[in-house]
């Protein structure tokens, strides 16, 4: 058994200790070593670009009125090119859920927490890796969708320097990453892929419609603007609507993300693995 009892390396043993940077590195390895993650990420990017280009080509041929801004009954050039945002949000959200909840469904969480028994660094590491990957790929996707979309629209296309355009394009990446982190945190809070995905979808895509349907008109709009979907939408809108302003929208949206991450941290810290 000499192989077993041999010291870990013969010369200059490395400083073995857990650091936040090392946990981030570990989560980076975990992220890229799962085929399902990589495929879901590719799907998310494809949805963002594909739907944006499709909507742009239709809006171009339909000879939409020129200029950025909302056009009743039709999408403006910016909104058309970013039309994939909703579906990409679904995909990034699902990716976030999978990245965390699959640790519970497979039992991997017990290995992860044996390596990082202080627990919270694991959640921070996952969020850091996920947010970085989602921001970069989300930004690439929304930039490609926007530039490609404007090329397809041709006449009346918007440019990066038009008011609100840069915010809408970069903001889309922020909303994508935020939705993903929300999914991740829900995965940690609920510890179940189906429960977290249905909660996420319900909150992001159904709640607004249901609220509008059920609440009386007089204050329905006032409530709905504070829902995560509408608050996030306010941030990526090119021109300010009658709801929240873009920065207020971002603040409310991120407020939800932070709150659920807080819940996830509490569950991770307080409960048996």
């Amino acid at each position: 058994m000499s192989t077993v009892t041999r010291p870990i390396v013969s010369a200059a043993p490395p400083r073995l200790r857990v650091t936040q940077a090392r946990v981030i590195h570990s989560e980076w390895i975990k992220f890229w070593s799962l085929r399902s993650t990589v495929i879901t990420l590719a799907v998310a990017v494809t949805l963002m670009i594909g739907i944006g280009l499709l909507a742009s080509s239709m809006s171009g041929s339909g000879a939409a009125p020129a200029g950025p801004g909302p056009n009743p009954g039709d999408l403006g050039p910016v909104d058309a090119s970013l039309a994939g945002l909703t579906f990409a949000q679904l995909a990034f959200g699902t990716l976030g859920v999978l990245f965390m909840a699959s640790e519970y469904s497979t039992g991997m969480i017990r290995s992860s927490l044996t390596a990082v028994p202080k627990r919270l660094p694991l959640l921070w590491g996952k969020i850091a890796v996920f947010a970085a990957v989602a921001l970069v790929t989300g930004l690439a996707a929304s930039a490609i969708a926007f530039t490609g979309g404007q090329a397809l629209i041709g006449d009346g296309a918007a440019s990066w320097t038009d008011p609100g355009v840069a915010r809408a394009v970069i903001g889309s990446a922020v909303i994508l990453a935020g939705s993903g982190v929300l999914g991740l945190a829900l995965g940690a809070l609920l510890r179940s892929t189906p429960a977290a995905i249905s909660t996420l979808f319900g909150v992001m895509f159904l709640l607004s419609g249901v609220a509008q349907l059920l609440l009386p008109d007089s204050w329905g709009d006032r409530v709905v603007q504070y829902l995560p979907s509408d608050a996030g939408g306010a941030f990526t809108a090119v021109s300010v609507g009658d709801g929240l302003g873009p920065w207020a929208g971002l603040a409310v949206f991120l407020g939800y993300v932070v709150a659920v991450v807080g819940g996830a941290a509490w569950r991770l810290r307080r409960f048996d693995a």
Binding site: R22, S26, R110
Partner: protein
């Protein structure tokens, strides 16, 4: 060294671990023995900080596991079920585990070779057999070459060759000065592997003894008696401290009397004996005997 003090875990109304106190010392293999549901896995999870004790403490090398700066260096664990993401390769699983603590990549290759997973290291862990999964679990336990090894039923699912391998591995690690704490519900397995036993039943400590003492204590003899007048002989032998168990028609087993006492009494009464055999119980039987109270307590508890 593992020190467990008054450790208790309740899940709702169910007490899985009940004021356990014991110490696991370095340099030997310590078996953690008990029937299924005795609380072995729960105790191990609490030692590793995965489950929070209802009360009591567990430390590894003087501190709670989570308070070490490099926990994997202090203790390596193989938990009962596969604790691996099924979609990830064994190699990447180990690489990610190693990365948390700064264990070099070369060591990952080393443990893969050590457990004999070289051929399949790049395959999805979900496609692994139970035995391969156990080997992967042992590889991750050994990653940072820890002082303490905590292995929950490591021979589960292993073929005979794998069982021999793991026995040798544990004994080698203990001989090298490590603390090896291994659970099993099989006494026979522990008798071959361990030098010391912590025996539990229904979450309670039943015995904390060396294997040698346990075997000696267990060597309570019984005598198989066969006679054409078994019923008469049975009545003749009855008395305080004597228990008799009918084996088949015309034969029964006696504990509490030596073979010569039985033979003499039969001769005095003029009863013919067709067989008089001294039986030493197997270790498994001794273990059953030892944990019987704990099991009975369970039945009574459930009925109440």
């Amino acid at each position: 060294m593992i020190e467990v003090h008054e450790l208790t875990k309740r899940y709702g109304a169910k007490t899985a671990v009940d004021s356990l106190t014991f110490t696991v010392r370095p340099g030997i293999v310590t078996g953690f023995l008990g029937p299924n549901g005795a609380g072995k896995s729960t105790t191990m999870r609490m030692i590793l900080g995965l489950d929070r004790p209802t009360s009591g403490t567990a430390t590894i090398n003087g501190r709670p596991y989570a308070e070490h700066t490099a926990p994997l260096r202090q203790a390596g664990a193989l938990l009962d079920a596969k604790a691996v993401h099924t979609g990830r390769s064994a190699y990447h699983h180990l690489l990610a585990m190693a990365a948390t603590t700064g264990v070099p990549r070369a060591r990952v290759d080393e443990v893969i070779d050590l457990v004999g997973l070289h051929e399949v290291a790049r395959k999805r862990a979900g496609a692994f057999s139970l035995g391969m999964g156990q080997r992967l679990g042992i590889a991750s336990a050994l990653l940072a070459d820890p002082e303490v090894l905590i292995l929950d039923e490591p021979v589960n699912g292993l073929d005979p060759e794998g069982i021999l391998w793991i026995r040798g591995l544990m004994q080698g690690l203990a001989a090298g000065g490590r603390t090896v704490f291994v659970s099993s519900h099989l006494m026979s397995e522990m008798a071959l592997t361990a030098q010391h036993l912590v025996v539990v039943g229904r979450g309670r400590l039943i015995a904390d003894v060396s294997v040698a003492d346990f075997i000696e204590r267990a060597a309570l003899e019984s005598v198989l008696v066969r006679s054409p007048r078994a019923v008469e002989l049975h009545d003749l032998l009855a008395g305080p401290g004597v228990t008799m168990l009918s084996v088949e028609r015309g034969a029964f087993e006696v504990t509490g009397l030596a073979a010569d006492q039985i033979g003499d009494r039969a001769a005095t009464a003029g009863i013919a004996l067709h067989e008089l055999t001294v039986r030493r119980p197997s270790l498994e039987a001794a273990f059953m005997e030892l944990t019987r109270d704990a099991v009975e307590y369970q039945t009574v508890g459930a009925a109440a």
